[in-house]
C-alpha cells in the first residue's frame, strides 16, 4: 500500500456495439516502466483516454496515487495522446505556454524541453507548419514540461525518423532511471522490450497477460547450431532426447528444444561423438515471440 501510482478496477468502456475495454484490472507501481501491448484496436488508447479523463468509463473506476481521479491529479502527469493536438495558428512555444498555464508549472521549463526534443530552433514557427515528427516531438515536450512523476505515452515514436526513435528511447530510459513512472502504449514490440520492465497485453479489450519483460515463460527454446560435418551432426541431434524439432537452415540447423536443455550437456555429447561445433547460439526469446505465443495461446 502506498506505492501504487495507478489502480484500475474493472475498468470498462463500451462504444455502442464495441466493447473496447473489458473489466480491466491493472496496477502500476512507482518506478515501473509499464508497457501496454496489443494489436490495433485492442483498447490501448481507449484505456489511456479513460485514465486521462477524456472518456468516461461505462463501468468500473480508477485511482491515481490512491487519491481518486480529479483533474488536479492529472496536473502531476505528463501525457501524450494518440495524435498531437495543439493550436495550429500558434507557435510551438506559445502552445507550451498554454500547457504551462493549465499545469500551473514554471514557464522557464519551456526552452529546456524544447531543447530536449530538438525543436528549439523552430519554437517561433506556427504549429501548423511542423512536420508530423515535429508535432510528435512537441507533444512529448508538453508531456515533459511540468517535470511530472508519471509519464504516459501513447505510441510516442509514431512518425519519428530512426534517429528520433532512438533519441526518444534513450530519453525514456533516462527518465526511467531517474525513478519516474512511465506507462507506454505501443504495438512496437521491440520498443517495449527495449524500454519497459513490465508489460501487459490487451486483446479485444481484455487483459490476457501481465508480466515482466525479462520473464521467459515459453516451454521451448531455440538453438542455432552448425558443424563441418552436417550429416553426422543431424544424426546425433536427433538422438539427443530433449530436442523436439530440427530445421535445416541454410547456414545452420535451427533446433527447438525443451526449455530445460543444457547447452553444456549437448556440446559434450557432440564432442564425445566426434563432432566439432562451429556455430552454437541459444536464442533469447524476444518479446515478439512471447507476444505472438500469448496471442496464439488465447485463441
Amino acid at each position: 500500500m502506498g506505492n501504487e501510482i495507478l489502480i484500475t478496477n474493472k475498468l470498462t468502456k463500451r462504444f455502442k456495439n464495441i466493447l473496447a475495454v473489458d473489466s480491466l484490472d491493472l496496477v502500476v507501481e512507482k518506478g515501473d516502466v509499464f508497457g501496454i501491448l496489443g494489436p490495433n484496436g485492442s483498447g490501448k488508447s481507449t484505456t489511456l483516454g479513460m485514465i486521462l479523463g477524456v472518456l468516461s468509463p461505462t463501468s468500473g473506476d480508477f485511482s491515481w496515487f490512491n487519491q481518486g481521479n480529479s483533474n488536479k491529479l492529472r496536473k502531476k502527469i505528463g501525457a501524450t495522446i494518440e495524435r498531437p493536438l495543439f493550436y495550429p495558428y500558434m507557435s510551438g512555444e506559445k502552445n507550451l505556454e498554454i500547457t504551462s498555464m493549465i499545469k500551473e508549472c514554471d514557464k522557464k521549463n519551456i526552452d529546456k524541453v524544447l531543447e530536449i526534443v530538438e525543436l528549439y530552433e523552430r519554437k517561433h514557427d506556427p504549429f501548423s507548419t511542423y512536420s508530423l515528427g515535429m508535432k510528435q516531438r512537441l507533444s512529448i515536450a508538453s508531456a515533459l514540461l511540468s517535470d511530472p512523476d508519471v509519464l504516459i505515452l501513447d505510441e510516442p515514436t509514431n512518425g519519428l525518423d530512426p534517429q528520433g526513435i532512438a533519441d526518444i528511447r534513450v530519453l525514456i530510459k533516462n527518465i526511467a532511471i531517474s525513478g519516474k513512472t512511465i506507462i507506454l502504449a505501443s504495438h512496437l514490440l521491440d520498443e517495449v522490450q527495449k524500454v519497459c520492465n513490465s508489460f501487459c497485453v490487451l486483446k479485444k479489450g481484455k487483459l490476457i497477460h501481465k508480466g515482466y519483460v525479462s520473464d521467459n515463460f515459453s516451454n521451448t527454446t531455440t538453438i542455432e547450431i552448425d558443424s563441418n560435418s552436417r550429416d553426422k551432426l543431424k544424426k546425433l541431434l536427433s538422438q539427443f532426447n530433449m530436442i523436439e524439432n530440427i530445421e535445416d537452415g541454410e547456414e545452420f540447423f535451427l533446433i527447438k528444444a525443451s526449455k530445460n536443455i543444457s547447452i553444456f550437456d549437448l556440446n559434450s555429447f557432440l564432442v564425445e561423438n566426434g563432432v566439432i561445433v562451429t556455430h552454437l547460439n541459444q536464442k533469447k526469446q524476444s518479446l515478439e515471440e512471447q507476444f505472438l505465443a500469448i496471442l496464439a495461446e488465447k485463441n
Binding site: 486521462l52 479523463g53 477524456v54 472518456l55 468516461s56 480529479s70 483533474n71 488536479k72 492529472r74 496536473k75 502527469i77 501525457a79 495522446i81 495524435r83 493536438l85 495543439f86 493550436y87 495550429p88 495558428y89 500558434m90 506559445k94 505556454e97 498554454i98 500547457t99 498555464m101 493549465i102 499545469k103 500551473e104 508538453s142
Partner: protein, 267 residues
C-alpha cells in the same frame, strides 16, 4: 488557474478573429450615420405616418432617448459577436485541443467556465462601447445635459440581450461543435424557422398566441422598436417584467444545457 487569462492567450488574433472584429467595429461606428440617413429617407418619401414632428427633428440622439434608440439598432449587429463565440468554441473541438486541455489537467467545469467568461467579456466590451457611444452622441446632440441617465436601464437591458444571443450561440456550439453547421443553423433558426413558428402560432391562436415565449422573440422583445414613440406620442417602449423573466429563463436554459452536454460528452 486564471481562466480568463488563458482564454486571452488562446484568442491570439487569427484571420477570422480580425475579420469578424473589424466587421463588427465598422458596423458599430457607421450605424449612427445609417440611422440618420434612414430617418432622412423616411422623411423624404413620407413612408410612414410620421406624427407631429418631421423625422430628422426627432430627438433620437438626445438624452435620454439616445439610450433606447442606439440599443435597439445595435442589436442588429450582435450576430457578429455570436459568430466570434461560435468559432472560439468549435475550433477547440476541431483541433482537438479541448482534449489536450483536459488531459493536461483542466476540469470540464473549468473549460466550460473559461468559455463562459469569454462570453461575458464580449458582452461587457460591447456594452461599454454602447455606453460611451451613447454618452458621446448625447452630449453632442442634446441642448442641455438634463436626464442623462434617466433611461440608462436600456444599457443593461442591451447587455442582457447580448448575453441572450451569445448564450444561444454558446449552447449550439457545445451541442454541435462544427462552426459551419452552428452558424447556418443559427441563421436558419433566427430568419426562417422561428418566423415560421411565429406565423403559424399567430395564425392559429391570434392575439393570445404565446409567441413571446419563443427564444429569439424573447430576445427581440427586450429592446423594442423605438421610433413609434415619436409617431404615437406617449407610446410606451419599455420592457415588461414578464419579458425579462422569459429572456432570463432562456439564458439559464442555454447555459445549463450546454454545461450538462459538455459534462457528458466524449472528447
Amino acid at each position: 488557474m486564471n481562466l480568463i487569462k488563458l482564454e486571452f492567450k488562446k484568442l491570439q488574433p487569427t484571420r477570422y478573429f480580425k475579420v469578424l472584429t473589424t466587421l463588427w467595429l465598422l458596423a458599430f461606428i457607421s450605424l449612427p450615420l445609417f440611422y440618420y440617413s434612414f430617418l432622412k429617407i423616411i422623411e423624404k418619401h413620407r413612408m410612414l405616418n410620421t406624427g407631429p414632428l418631421s423625422p430628422t427633428n426627432w430627438p433620437v440622439f438626445q438624452f435620454s432617448d439616445v439610450w433606447l434608440n442606439i440599443t435597439y439598432f445595435y442589436k442588429f449587429i450582435s450576430i457578429f459577436l455570436s459568430f466570434l463565440i461560435i468559432i472560439t468554441i468549435t475550433r477547440e473541438f476541431r483541433y482537438g485541443t479541448v482534449r489536450q486541455n483536459i488531459v493536461d489537467g483542466m476540469s470540464r467545469t473549468q473549460f466550460w467556465l473559461s468559455k463562459f467568461y469569454l462570453l461575458l467579456f464580449f458582452a461587457s466590451i460591447a456594452t461599454l462601447l454602447i455606453f460611451f457611444l451613447g454618452l458621446f452622441l448625447g452630449f453632442k446632440n442634446s441642448p442641455n445635459s438634463n436626464d442623462i441617465f434617466l433611461t440608462i436601464y436600456f444599457v443593461p437591458t442591451y447587455m442582457l440581450h447580448l448575453i441572450h444571443i451569445l448564450s444561444f450561440a454558446f449552447f449550439l456550439s457545445f451541442l454541435i461543435s462544427s462552426s459551419g453547421i452552428v452558424i447556418s443553423l443559427m441563421i436558419f433558426w433566427i430568419y426562417i424557422i422561428e418566423p415560421i413558428i411565429f406565423a403559424v402560432l399567430k395564425h392559429a391562436f391570434g392575439y393570445k398566441s404565446f409567441v413571446e415565449y419563443l427564444p429569439m422573440e424573447s430576445n427581440w422583445n427586450l429592446l423594442k422598436f423605438p421610433l413609434e414613440k415619436y409617431v404615437f406620442i406617449g407610446e410606451k417602449v419599455s420592457t415588461t417584467s414578464l419579458e425579462y423573466l422569459i429572456a432570463i429563463s432562456w439564458i439559464l436554459f442555454f447555459l445549463f444545457t450546454s454545461f450538462y452536454i459538455f459534462k457528458k460528452r466524449e472528447l
